[in-house]
Subunit: 204 residues, 2 copies
């Protein structure tokens, strides 16, 4: 095997090890370089052949998580084309992501308010993509001005993220209820933004 291939392989092993150690009880900040290295099957000092420090690894994980999020968006887009309902389809797709990749979601959730400004910025960027995408659909559907669509989308993403966080601590049989509640909230939001915007325009 070529040297570059092998290097990439153990790099992946490190990333994989880090992700696998994340859990409800263990955040990225509480991972240790040594532990990660151990699980990746390399010596502690070999870690430095791939990352300058744990922070660099962390940013890589966030990027990776962002990638999955974008994959999710593509999936949601397809479903929306078929199904038609932007809101319920988006929420349901997101909830599937949360349940299927709970540690990845947890990473985003925690580092969004974590102790590293760089991490927070990285997560914010990923979420920004997410809400921009949603805003695109809202514009198409409700034909409202860009600024309002963006603000509306951000609120919706906030609400959906929060529901995802709740889901992490809720028993599985409550996921349906959580999903429905959130869909209701988003519908209110959409309805309110549309009619309130109109009434404001009418007044002007």
């Amino acid at each position: 095997m070529s040297r570059a291939q092998q290097k990439e392989r153990t790099r992946k092993a490190i990333i994989e090890a880090a992700f696998s150690q994340l859990s409800a009880e263990k955040s990225f900040a509480s991972l240790s370089l040594r532990e990660v290295a151990r699980e990746a099957g390399i010596a502690p000092t070999s870690f430095y052949r791939h990352f300058a420090d744990m922070d660099e690894l962390g940013l890589t994980l966030v990027d990776e998580a962002g990638l999955m999020l974008r994959q999710l968006m593509r999936q949601a887009r397809q479903r929306i084309e078929k199904n038609g309902s932007v809101i319920s389809t988006s929420v349901e797709t997101f909830m599937e992501f949360v349940t299927g990749n709970s540690n990845v979601f947890r990473l985003l959730l925690r580092e969004r308010s974590g102790t590293s400004a760089a991490f927070r910025a990285a997560v914010a960027r990923e979420i920004q993509h997410f809400s921009a995408e949603l805003a695109h659909y809202l514009r198409k559907e409700t034909a409202c001005p860009d600024e309002l669509a963006q603000l509306q989308a951000e609120a919706m993403v906030t609400l959906v993220f929060h529901t995802g966080a709740d889901a992490l601590d809720a028993p599985l049989d409550q996921y349906g209820s959580l999903t429905n509640r959130t869909i209701t909230q988003l519908r209110w939001m959409a309805h309110g933004a549309a009619s309130y915007g109109r009434s404001k325009i009418n007044k002007a």
Copy 2:
């Protein structure tokens, strides 16, 4: 000084030390017993005379934070009686809380999705109080059914909390803009919940 008094005093010193060490770069999880003890002016092992472990201290901090939150609610209530506008008054009061007690808010924000189930539950309880209080006002103002008021209040609290989190990383001169955006979102929410609820009832 009586023994009980002295004990209470150093207990407060420990709590104070812990709070003062929290910052944008340092979360509760990254505090060490020794550091806290050092700043509190006691020997590391003396810590145990007051708390069984750091977790117990952490729960105490969350309780303390909850107390401040309730104090905040009282303040908001008074202002609402005078001012009239539930939404803008609430948001503005909350933003003041965030700026004036940023470390306390950070604690709630982080432990809400932290690695301790007990912490998460404790924070959830405090936030629950908060949204129940808001729901009370919404019921009074919009005369909508309890269930809907609660759901609406939760969405609003979610949005306000999220704005608070954004504010922590934003320059001071953007606070006004952040506040206004959030007020708009909450108005949409209120408007949507009211009219969507009506239309739903009309359909039935």
